[in-house]
Symmetry: C2
Subunit: 232 residues, 2 copies
């Protein structure tokens, strides 16, 4: 694989502390590919041969059942996905497609597992990463089960605002229909929910959000670190 990408990947928590030789071996075994938007990278049910790393662009993880489809996560650079499947050697539980032109690194699962056994620092990093994935999944479930759609949206906006540096203006990084699906609602419902939030000082112009009454929105959203804090 091109050496250009390696430094970015090395910065990931997952690869930061591991032995340099092992890291190089992993990178040599990997493939880099550039994908156009809207390309289905993996399909749920397929065997999991690679750990994926998004270097640039954007990937949607989604799942389908009985003609319905739901977005489970949106992965932005630089992060990995489907770690759990590649460790278990089980079939993918989600599908993945690019949302934008994306550069993705494919690390063969068997190489990941081989290095896991040789490199304690890497093993430690893998287990921490996986634990984090688990915890994020728990938080997503809590969000879904304990909150209404309006509350989920309000909290999503506050989380995005925080990530964007706590200014009153920021922009939503994905299309609204994907956001709707991520939050577990229909696009129509999202559109109406955004309108309802006007009463709480949320102004919407396309992808741009302006929050004018911070306290009111927070009083509605009641953000909670055990659901909304990405670092926990």
């Amino acid at each position: 694989m091109p050496e250009l990408d390696a430094p970015n990947i090395r910065q990931l928590e997952l690869f930061k502390e591991m032995d340099g030789t092992h890291f190089d071996a992993l990178m040599r075994a990997s493939y880099v590919q550039n994908f156009p938007p809207q390309l289905e990278l993996i399909s749920e049910g397929d065997p999991s041969d690679f750990l994926h790393v998004v270097v640039s662009g954007c990937v949607e993880l989604f799942s389908s059942w009985n003609g319905r489809e739901s977005t489970l996560a949106v992965i932005r650079p630089v992060s990995t996905f489907i770690l759990a499947a590649s460790i278990r050697n089980g079939p993918y539980l989600m599908s993945a497609r690019t949302l934008e032109k994306s550069r993705i690194i494919l690390i063969p699962s068997q190489d990941v597992q081989a290095v896991f056994d040789k490199d304690p620092k890497f093993a430690r990093a893998i287990v921490e990463e996986l634990a984090q994935v688990c915890r994020n999944a728990t938080k997503h479930t809590k969000d879904l089960k304990l909150r209404t759609a309006l509350e989920r949206l309000a909290n999503y906006l506050l989380t995005q605002q925080k990530q964007a540096g706590n200014g009153s203006n920021f922009s939503i990084p994905i299309e609204k229909r994907h956001l709707a699906s991520l939050l577990g609602m229909t696009p129509e419902n999202l559109s109406r929910a955004l309108k309802k939030l006007r009463a709480y000082g949320v102004l919407v112009d396309g992808q741009i959000i302006a929050i004018s009454k911070q306290e009111e929105l927070e009083r509605l959203a009641k953000p909670n670190r055990l659901i909304d804090d990405a670092s926990l």
Copy 2:
């Protein structure tokens, strides 16, 4: 800790392959306790000091927000819980309470982590277990986002039936209000959903379920291994 419990625990995938000396050390460092029903073992937000193993009885994992509460899982013997929190040393994201009189082993997180670094087989087992927890969480989310309450219930019944040996009669192992919460609905809604399933050959008498038209129920439920199969 009493040697009586150790053999049971040793049978768990998590401890099966590890070095005997390390296992003994873990067991010596652990505490065993018997708890009465309805006792809150841990509260979300608390620091995670122990990995828990349910040896007998039954534990409910749940979470609260803004006066609402939801059951996230019900743990039966012999299994562990809150592995992810104890690896990350982060605060618990869920609370836990006994549903029945329960016997629980508490293994200090720091001992788990110490053995993780020393014992590659244990490290491997931990990472596989965690990956499984992740995958179960993904399946739960798919169940919630892709299915209606009635469909979730129908699939739950089919899953329970399978676990009970595929007979037409079996019994629900938890109270209906907990089942309702687990499936993301109110007790009232569960009660009505069970009634609707009469049209698909489901007869209910207290905790006992009888399925008379297997094919009809399956046609409604459309079970899918990537959501319902516990072994994937």
